[in-house]
């Protein structure tokens, strides 16, 4: 035996226990890899919370850890939405904060002192490891080949579509929600296959956890009934389906109603009605099933028609009446925008203004999923070939998920799991086909053929069975190595995307100096730190809602509006203050007790995500509430251009936002050379003047500019004339105002 070590190696993988051990090791490695690939941002920058929403979650978590669960539950936050406040405990999804709070306390009892910030930063990577394992479990339910499960775990671990929301520091609801989504689906398939109440109850519990964590739970609420409905339509109603679905629905709905933010929604809104409808429908079906076993089929037919027709009619009538009477709320705007992508733009600018609610551009699919996107249909096709109940689930999920991922960018996240599962099935089928070392001996098949031929009669060539398949070593190794190259390229692509596109904290910006070294632009934190140190504890900061959470989290100052966007009118008020002239906006700011106004300006650095570029949304949202005071059209030149240079419209030049952005900006440049690097235009020589507020702080690269709102004038003048007086301009109308002199005739 020349190949002794080789044989030993080959036989080592054959025992069942060895395989089990290998699987565990491989899964652990995959989980480790998925965690490691999310740490770019921590290594490049630091352990910091990213973006916008995570800052609120972080702040809420700190509150939870400091004040305990019950105070958190009843938390009324008077430092946001000034002067309204926000019932924070009742209007958030507490799953994320409670999870990290529990981890924090668990580590504390184990005497491992960890800062809550580090737990929050590393929560998403840790859960991505769990997601990989959940994907493994889910795929194992689909196919007997365990290599498919491992591949699915690998894909899930490093697919950029999921990494985009789960890098270290991205402390958002999606961080744990995707794990819960995949795991709930796994439990559902398990419950459906076994018809067990216990699995159904587990599914309901994880569904409840999902509801507590993310608004995207509606995806499950709609997908599971849809799957059941498709199964029923295919004539696959079974008692197992009844047990699994009804247990899930009865327990899951109750579990979801425990969350104050969800409350009565599951029985009141239309989004939850399909689940209820299927629930009722299954009761009827179970009854009919029983009746069918009890009476002869001819009688059953008449019974069925009368009974089913009657019930359906009554149910539909009830639904229509309930909806029109307002018992069941009609579909919410966010859902309308899922059917009609133009809906939000016309009716609800606040939803359309969020960039992640935009429809997906097609390159995004390839960017986020790379080769998985073309393996995806193959996997779905393979599911069609077997088409047991669980394969129907994959097919339904694939259709549903693809549609929604096409409508809204951020729903790419819900598509990613099914793409990973389907692609893993495809790849593993390919690998299993080409890696199997078995090859039928041609002599054997000929012998079999001969035996058959003797029994039968003809020697027709078409009836003889040739040995079909690829058995040459060359063909196999070609195919396998090609696949291996694809897989390696996939890993490269994922790493590249993660490192370049998804690992920026967006609070801290990085750029390259001409010599290639990294330059950190830290204006946000500089400005927030200034606010924290130089303003009163309760100084109200007005800014566009994007920065509300960050101001609350980093500067710890009350804000007028934030990313929660629960009150459109309040946001429109801020939009109106920003887009009107000083005379109009000063009273608004006084009414809201605004002390400082914060704007983001990228003109000096070429930072395109600044307020002037978001300005039109402010105008639109304000116009939605005050159509006769703010008009979007007046911000465009007569030729329909949105300009900020000398050609800008008067309304634009007088708007508070424009003035605050460009105030004193031309002093940076030699006369006549002032240039805005984002818009790429030359600015007029004379900059705007501000009279109701004064510049308080401007960060190093001018990204953040903070203005202090002036108090009322000491002499009772209005601010325009006071400022004019300070500039040394003479009051022109002073004499006219005095009126005609009266002669005293006493």
């Amino acid at each position: 035996m020349s190949a002794d070590p080789l044989h030993a190696l080959a036989s080592a993988g054959k025992g069942e226990s060895t395989r089990g051990l290998l699987r565990v090791i491989i899964l652990a490695l995959i989980a480790g890899a998925s965690i490691a690939s999310r740490l770019f941002s921590v290594i490049r920058f630091e352990s910091i919370i990213h973006e916008f929403d995570p800052w609120f979650n972080f702040r809420a978590t700190k509150y939870l850890v400091a004040n305990g669960f019950y105070n958190f539950w009843d938390w009324f936050d008077d430092r946001t939405w000034h002067p309204l406040g926000r019932v924070t405990g009742g209007t958030l999804y507490p799953g994320l904060m409670v999870t990290s709070g529990a981890i924090y306390h668990a580590l504390r009892t184990l005497t491992i002192p960890v800062d809550i910030r580090n737990i929050c930063v590393l929560l998403a990577p840790a859960f991505s490891g769990l997601t990989a394992i959940a994907a493994y479990l889910l795929t194992n339910e689909m196919t007997p080949s365990s290599s498919a499960g491992l591949l699915a775990a690998l894909f899930m671990g490093i697919a950029p579509g999921y990494i985009s929301r789960s890098v270290a520091g991205s402390y958002d609801n999606e961080a744990i929600a995707i794990f819960l989504l995949v795991f709930t689906f796994y439990l559902w398939i398990k419950a459906l296959k076994q018809g067990s109440m216990l699995w159904g109850a587990l599914c309901a519990l994880f569904y409840g956890y999902m509801v507590a964590s993310w608004g995207g739970y509606a995806f499950i609420t709609c997908l599971l009934p849809l799957h059941s409905f498709v199964l029923i339509c295919m004539g696959r109603y079974s008692t197992r389906l009844y047990v699994a679905y009804t247990t899930w629905y009865a327990l899951g709905t109750l579990a979801s109603m425990q969350i104050p933010f969800v409350g009565f929604l599951p029985v009141k809104t239309s989004e939850h009605m399909p689940a209820l409808g299927i629930f009722g429908f299954l009761q009827l079906l179970a009854f009919l099933d029983y009746v069918r076993s009890a009476i002869p089929s001819r009688q059953f037919q008449t019974f069925l028609w009368l009974f089913a027709g009657g019930t359906f009619g009554i149910g539909l009538l009830g639904l229509v009446i309930a909806t029109s009477a307002g018992v069941i709320a009609p579909w919410s705007g966010r859902f309308y925008s899922l059917w009609d992508t133009g809906y939000a733009k016309i009716h609800i600018p606040i939803i359309a203004s969020v960039s992640e609610h935009q429809p997906t551009a097609w390159p995004a699919f390839f960017f986020d999923l790379n080769m998985l996107i073309w393996l995806f249909p193959v996997g779905v096709y393979l599911c069609f070939q077997q088409l047991a109940d669980e394969h129907v689930f994959i097919v339904v999920y694939a259709l549903f998920g693809s549609y929604f991922a096409g409508v809204m960018v951020r729903l790419m996240l819900t598509l990613t799991p099914v793409v990973c599962v389907a692609a893993a099935i495809a790849v593993s089928t390919l690998l299993d086909t080409y890696l199997s070392t078995k090859s039928p001996k041609p002599e054997e098949s000929q012998a079999a053929e001969a035996a058959e031929g003797k029994k039968g009669k003809s020697g027709l060539k078409s009836t003889s069975k040739p040995v079909v398949g690829i058995y040459s070593i060359w063909g196999r190794s070609m195919m396998v190595s090609a696949l291996a190259v694809y897989l390696l390229l996939f890993v490269l692509h994922c790493t590249w995307v993660t490192s370049n596109a998804y690992s920026s904290p967006s609070v801290v910006l990085a750029s390259r100096l001409p010599d290639g070294s990294q330059h950190i632009i830290d204006d946000y934190r500089e400005a927030y730190q200034w606010l924290r140190q130089n303003t009163r504890e309760d100084a109200k900061i007005m800014s566009w809602w994007d920065y509300g959470y960050q101001i609350g989290g980093m500067a710890d100052r009350p804000t007028l509006v934030d990313n929660n966007t629960w009150n459109n009118t309040h946001i429109a008020t801020v939009g109106k203050a920003m887009s009107s002239s000083e005379e109009v906006s000063y009273p608004i700011m006084r009414q809201h007790e605004v002390d400082y106004v914060l704007v983001v300006f990228g003109g000096l650095l070429g930072y395109s995500g600044d307020d002037i570029n978001k300005f039109l949304w402010m105008v639109r949202i304000a116009e939605g509430i005050w159509p006769d005071e703010v008009s979007e059209r007046s911000f465009f030149t007569p030729r329909g251009e949105y300009r900020v240079d000398g050609e800008a419209t008067e309304t634009m030049k007088n708007s508070l936002m424009y003035k605050m952005s460009y105030y004193n900006y031309n002093t940076l440049f030699p006369p006549g050379k002032a240039v805005d690097r984002v818009r790429g235009v030359h600015l007029p020589d004379v900059g705007p003047t501000l009279s109701t507020m004064e510049e308080a702080f401007t960060s190093e690269n001018w990204i953040i500019r903070i203005y202090k709102v002036k108090d009322l004038d000491n002499l009772g003048r209005d601010h325009m004339s006071a400022a004019a007086f300070d500039r040394g301009q003479k009051k022109k109308k002073a004499t006219k105002k005095r009126g005609p002199r009266l002669l005293r005739v006493e």
């Binding site: 709905t253 109750l254 425990q258 009476i295």
Partner: protein
């Protein structure tokens, strides 16, 4: 087959005894006697089946929804159903059915109250109503899983496990209800 079935029945009865001690002793002899009428009624139904299609055909040939004919078929259907039910249902399944009927009655009562008297403590109504609905569904699942005819559907679920699942799920359900009731 028969001793095994009796074992299962005894185990389930032992489990159920804590719930209803009065009904238990009367039931054990009943389960042993059921097989005898079972065979007889199934034969009678098979003998009557050729007759029914004839009457149905007559109905179909005439006006489909005509009053008297429809009522006649409904009578037949109801009679058949009742006969089938009394013949083939074991005693402890009947107990479950009684519980189901009770739950339907309670749920209907709650719903009627909600419609007539208003739903003011909506939390309380919802948790009460969903407790009955959830318990109904769980009990129906238990009934399905313990029925002999459905054995093939549930290879992984033995009657004992079904009962254990039932207890666990009921506990979860009532925990949520109590928590939600305010």
């Amino acid at each position: 087959m028969a001793p095994k079935q009796r074992n299962a029945a005894a185990a389930a009865a032992a489990a159920a005894r804590s719930a209803s001690p009065a009904a238990a002793p009367a039931r054990t002899p009943a389960t042993t006697t059921t097989p005898i009428p079972n065979t007889t009624t199934t034969t009678t139904t098979t003998t009557t089946t050729p007759v029914i299609p004839a009457s149905l055909k007559a109905n179909a040939a005439g006006v489909v929804g005509s009053g008297s004919g429809g009522a006649q078929t409904w009578d037949r259907i109801a009679q058949n159903l009742v006969a089938h039910y009394t013949a083939t249902t074991p005693q402890r399944t009947k107990l479950l059915d009684a519980f189901l009927a009770f739950l339907v009655a309670v749920g209907g009562l709650q719903f009627a109250y909600c419609v007539l008297a208003g739903n003011y403590p909506f939390n309380a109504f919802l948790s009460g109503f969903s407790a009955t609905v959830g318990q109904f569904v769980l009990t129906a699942s238990l009934r399905i899983q313990t029925t002999e005819a459905n054995k093939g559907d549930f290879p992984a679920v033995s009657p004992e496990r079904a009962f254990a699942d039932y207890v666990v799920c009921s506990l979860i359900l009532h925990f949520f209800c109590v928590n939600f009731i305010n």
